[in-house]
Symmetry: C2
Subunit: 386 residues, 2 copies
């Protein structure tokens, strides 16, 4: 049966039945009091996930749209910005900033390794004239399966006036992120990751410090103008332009599910999947890209096994077993493959993806004793979590 696909990419994630049913609801009048109440409710619950009392807005776009909003609303042409770069999505911060005329300094690190807070601190400390306007970081780097230490990176900036901007698209509600406690000024995320929805919504939080920068910002923007978003939300619990209403109704349901499970449990469950996939990979003598410290709970990147073409791995997984995993991205397109384990994923999904990976690698000539990786996962399950 090829119809039932097992989706193990780092987003979009599988969607719970409870949420799917809501997506199939009838059309919604997006300017009714009832829909404003939904927007208000989900915005409040999103703030709980973000651990923030900052403003938070729902945008109808992919996560990249919210990344653009994080630049176009706050950065002026000529502004000096730092980007902590160690992956394909961190590179996107560089590209967007350049499009909007920023003077970008990339602080480049090895792909798969964490960004170095000390390197950031050195640049911040050296900036006597306080010329750095913003620091852009990536929480979970989807392209490499690495999660940055956001708390340490933020601490490295101390009291410097630069606004601190985080891409948490694939990391939000996967790994801990404390927006207010850590003083993160702008944080973006997206519906198709841990929120267990189809793609089409993005979320962005904005601190008071960021609003002060916004007041000075001249870059042109309309669709992603956050002042319009704030005015419409504050006055009428609505959005400036027609929102993706069916997805917002779905979000209402998925946030209920997340509330029932509890954020700490969600973090632990994702870390558990990470540990399982890494244990299986090691049992199969595969090499992991990220070290244990900094290993992502959302996605695991595995290095190209010997001379095996990673595109062959993803192709056989998809065509023979209906399991969707991902090749690499950007400069690592051919040197790694990636197994996503975020969102609506279960232990049985992990067992299945590892079993199919074993068969695929064996077919491609890798020295695999079938069942070895699965056994590593089974041992963990039978022992139980912590």
């Amino acid at each position: 049966m090829n119809d039932k696909q097992l989706l193990m990419i780092p987003g979009p994630t599988p969607i719970p039945q409870r949420v799917l049913h809501t997506l199939g609801n009838a059309a919604v009048g997006h300017r009714t009091p009832g829909f404003s109440a939904i927007i208000k409710e989900v915005t409040g619950k999103l703030k709980q996930v973000y651990k923030t009392e900052n403003d938070l807005f729902i945008l109808t776009s992919s996560g990249t749209g919210a990344m653009e909003a994080a630049v176009s609303n706050f950065i002026n042409p000529g502004d000096k910005v730092l980007v902590m770069e160690n992956g394909n999505f961190a590179e996107r911060w560089i590209k967007i900033n350049k499009k909007f005329g920023a003077d970008v300094q990339a602080v480049s690190g090895e792909w798969g390794a964490q960004s170095d807070p000390a390197a950031l601190k050195a640049l911040i400390d050296a900036d006597a004239g306080k010329e750095i306007k913003a620091v852009f970081v990536t929480q979970n780097e989807t392209s490499t399966g690495m999660v940055n230490d956001i708390q340490a990176l933020r601490a490295a900036c101390g009291d410097h006036p630069a606004i601190f901007i985080v891409d948490a698209i694939s990391g939000m509600a996967v790994s801990e992120l404390k927006v207010d406690e850590w003083k993160l000024d702008i944080v973006v995320s997206g519906s198709q990751k841990a929120f267990m929805l189809p793609p089409g919504l993005a979320f962005i939080s904005v601190s008071e410090k960021a609003w002060a920068a916004n007041a000075q910002c001249t870059n042109p923007r309309f669709y992603f103008d956050l002042q319009a978003a704030k005015k419409n939300f504050d006055e009428k619990s609505t959005t400036p332009y027609t929102p993706a209403a069916s997805l917002i109704v779905g979000l209402q349901e998925s946030l209920k599910m997340m509330e029932e499970e509890g954020l700490e449990n969600i973090y632990q469950r994702h870390a558990w999947y990470r540990d399982m996939v890494r244990a299986a990979a090691k049992a199969l003598k595969l090499e992991l890209l990220a070290e244990d410290k900094g290993a992502s709970s959302a996605v695991t990147a595995i290095k190209k096994p010997g001379e095996i073409d990673v595109k062959q791995i993803t192709k056989i997984m998809r065509e023979k077993y209906s399991v969707i995993i991902a090749a690499g991205q950007g400069k690592m397109e051919k040197s790694i493959f990636r197994i996503g384990h975020l969102g609506y994923v279960s232990e049985t999904d992990i067992l299945a993806v590892i079993a199919c990976l074993e068969m695929t690698l064996k077919e491609l000539g890798w020295d695999v004793q079938l069942g070895t990786g699965v056994a590593a996962v089974q041992a963990m399950i039978m022992k139980g979590r912590d």
Copy 2:
């Protein structure tokens, strides 16, 4: 039963069961060959609806996002542009253009009346230096229930080099629009109108003439960068950033339905609803905003009946009868109310909305003999179309 709402606003429209079922499908891997095939198929069918062989792209945003793309990809700061203004959405063209630094000349007309092709021709003919870079028009003005004569407006521009840009968000597949035959350079539309989907997708077509202007355009853009859209579509039948995949799967189904019905039938069906609502309004001694010539097939605007507050009309319709209609917008917020009749609407929907409107107006003190408006519609149905 308050749960079953009758949605009679000018978008989002009701959604067919056939489409709702597809929205509830399982998550989709958006970078798989299967999904690229869907993108290719729906893009081809959208071009048939547009009657164009121009490039056409699917954006994940509301229609306003595509309007921004139509400005930010083609207009430079200081460029002289004309906007034919006679409603709230035409005003949006002015606002976006101003945000992106254009030198905007608004050609303002009465709200509810068609834009005057002769006024446009006079300005075009007077532009000996060919300084006008673009002309922005609105096909169907959602805020007033007026449809412009796009063919005549385009003809008024003759061989002038200005690119001709059309907001067809609420008019596409409601009233005839021939992108290639009429030489319309950029045309935007959105999923939640005649395409019978939830909001979240926008479509934009781009002519060769428009691409030439794009090559000169310096305004900053990333998420809505159409060169990135073209490169990804041409090379891999994909989108630069994660698309709203569930809506694209829904679009595949709704385009099939539209193909089965046939575009000419769809146009005629919408004109038929327009005629019904207008006949009923006249029978109820209500005053229509738009003249018969220029009356929209998507939405009918009715003037405030005497001293009755239009917000009371929409409130009673919603709270007592679960029928959602719209008040006015912009400067006409309080002076009209609007009944949408586009997308997945049936004759029985028209009968029901008119019946509820009669009861509502009677309650509010309007001199109504119950059944009068309904009878006007019934007479048309019994006589039959054409």
